[in-house]
């Protein structure tokens, strides 16, 4: 692997990780909202 690929990966891996976490948090919150509505409760 050349340096360009390694350094590119080193910088871009962090926004990629952030994107993964963002998707996870939004999906989980959507499920929580649906569950709260189904049980006639508030989300908070």
């Amino acid at each position: 692997m050349d340096n360009v690929f390694i350094y590119g990966l080193y910088v871009l891996i962090w926004p990629a990780i952030t994107l993964g976490v963002l998707v996870l948090i939004c999906t989980a919150t959507y499920r929580d909202v649906k569950k709260a509505k189904r049980n006639n409760k508030d989300i908070l």
Partner: protein, 553 residues
């Protein structure tokens, strides 16, 4: 390469951006407004915050305005490993706290603050040490975040520093005042989604706008050998290790974190904190990479101010729309931390000061709510005044950090070891703090035998840090083995060496001295505390009165 100035928005544009941000956040808070707020809802959202919102809130609270600036500065100063030595250690501490948080919840399922738990365990003096350190810590944090808002507004527009401070203070108070912690968590979610989305766009945008990884690699020759080294010892000893030790103390001592440990659905604590760890690392290390990019292409910080690095890079390479996005990113991060500080301060005044020391079991929920909201207003006013005067808070910040460092072992020992007494807790914190001050401010010449004495204390401190971390995940026996190995290694390698790094030496001294005193004084007493009492003594203020502790000294 030098950028002469940053892009300037008109006053109207900045005011509209701020109005959109704070107006939108306020409208969001109206969605969860209740006609009759309970004290439990106001302080810990009824102990039932779900995984998604909990992880978002934990991440948003841990990220403050300084996180981006400091990570970028670390990348610029220490090179390739710099962003890791800021973001990785900060993230690790979120992970470190959760095993202890689960223990807090097990002992005090109806708790709101760590101070309540310590009050039930030891009595008022230990609890007030925690409360006072938190009041100071949260006021400093409020002031720092309002200051960051003022600085950003004045750098990017013709508006004054004070205007930025005032808008941020009033904006944060407006959406937090009615629903307290519930509003803080709910708006944290929206703020985190915005700041993550912006971070995801800005980091690759800057990289490719400056020419891509090829340009970065060709600029590596601008770096010193130490800056090029991923395993740089200079980066570890100057940035990583002192930050690691400081932020560990912050994780244990700070009410904004404890409040979330008491608020999140107890079956979701682990998942929430693991997710927040990864999320924090992603966004903070990622933005820190912009500092590294600036270093490789030879950018010099405008006016020598490292805080200008990210806005300068965005301003140099991207369209003004991205600068507006960066502006929202910083305002979002500082607001999410500021609203958590307001919630933390109000909860400490409600539970620790009014609930435990004034009402003493005869709590009136209405009065308690009034105290909570009053605290938010007074704290905001204090934060605005301190920020407007641009006070030098370095000494205060160092002092609070040391206080939290001295608290770590006594707090954790108090919730696992039934021999710890109130006297042991209090004396450990006071002596740990005093010895820290001697080392940090070099009140004695740190040479010869004195330096060796502090290095031995610091070696114990390092053993405590590693031992506690291992203990949290793998249990007491392996934790003790890890501490013993660390102690031997430190005594062999750190004596005669650590005196070169006074900040690190002093911080570890606070841990080591407080641990030694806490253990010795506890063993001198004959307390055998029944942990089951804590559950009886820490209660829900909306339902019943609490049983007062009997172990006051």
């Amino acid at each position: 390469m030098k950028t002469e100035s940053l892009f300037q928005f008109s006053s109207l544009t900045i005011i509209l951006l701020l109005l959109a941000f704070y107006g939108g956040t306020y409208l969001l808070s109206l969605l969860i407004k209740k006609d009759k707020e309970t004290t439990s809802g106001f302080m810990v959202a009824g102990h039932g915050v779900g995984f998604g919102m909990g992880a978002a809130s934990m991440t948003a609270t841990w990220i403050w305005a300084a996180s981006f600036y400091a990570a970028a500065t670390s990348g610029y100063k220490y090179g390739v490993s710099g962003p890791i030595h800021y973001g990785f250690w900060g993230a690790l501490m979120i992970l470190f706290i959760y095993p202890f948080g689960m223990r807090f919840r097990e002992l005090a399922p109806d708790g709101h603050t760590l101070g309540e738990l310590i009050h039930a365990r030891h009595g008022s003096s230990s609890q007030l040490i925690l409360a006072i350190s938190n009041i100071m810590g949260s006021l400093i944090s409020l002031m720092v975040n309002f200051t960051a808002a003022g600085a950003l507004v004045s750098v990017l527009s013709p508006l004054s520093f004070q205007t930025g401070v005032m808008i941020a203070g009033i904006g944060v108070l407006s959406y937090t005042l009615t629903s307290g912690f519930r509003a803080s968590v709910f708006t944290d979610f929206a703020q985190l989604v915005a700041l993550m989305a912006i971070g995801i766009i800005i980091i690759p945008a800057v990289l490719f706008a400056m020419g891509g990884p090829e340009v970065m690699v060709s600029g590596l020759s601008n770096l010193t050998l130490e800056q090029q080294n991923f395993f740089s010892s200079e980066a570890f000893f100057q940035q990583g290790a002192p930050y690691f030790v400081a932020v560990l103390a912050y994780a244990i001592g700070n009410q904004t974190i404890t409040q979330r440990l008491f608020a999140i659905d107890k079956t979701k604590i682990k998942a929430t904190f693991v997710t927040a760890t990864v999320g924090y690392a992603g966004i903070v290390i990622g933005l820190g990479m912009i500092g590294l990019m600036a270093l490789t292409i030879g950018i010099e910080p405008l006016d020598g101010n490292m805080n200008n690095l990210i806005p300068q890079m965005v301003s140099t390479y991207l369209h003004p729309v991205f600068i507006a996005l960066f502006f929202i990113l910083v305002i979002g991060s500082l607001s999410s931390t500021a609203d958590s500080d307001l919630s933390a301060l109000s909860t400490i005044m409600m539970a620790d000061v009014y609930g435990k020391n004034i009402a003493k079991g005869r709590v009136k929920p209405k009065t308690m709510m009034l105290i909570g909201r009053g605290t938010m207003i007074i704290a905001t006013a204090a934060g605005l005044i301190f920020a407007s005067f641009k006070l030098d808070i370095l000494v205060m910040l160092v002092f609070v950090g040391a206080l939290w460092g001295a608290i770590v072992f006594p707090v954790i020992a108090s919730v696992f070891w039934n021999r710890v007494t109130n006297t042991a807790f209090t004396s450990a914190v006071i002596i740990g703090l005093l010895l820290f001050c001697v080392a940090r401010f070099e009140l004695l010449p740190i040479t010869g035998f004195t330096a060796l004495f502090f290095e031995i204390l610091a070696s114990v401190g390092a053993a405590v840090v590693i031992g506690l971390m291992v203990f949290g995940f793998l249990g007491r026996k392996i934790g003790m083995i890890a501490a013993a190995i660390t102690l031997v290694l430190m005594l062999v390698f750190a004596t005669g060496f650590l005196r070169q790094y006074m900040v690190l030496l002093a911080s570890l001294t606070a841990y080591g001295a407080s641990t030694i005193v806490c253990v010795i004084v506890s063993l001198m007493g004959d307390e055998h505390f029944d942990f089951g009492l804590i559950k009886q003594r820490v209660g829900n203020y909306d339902k019943k009165t609490n049983v007062a502790p009997t172990s006051e000294t």
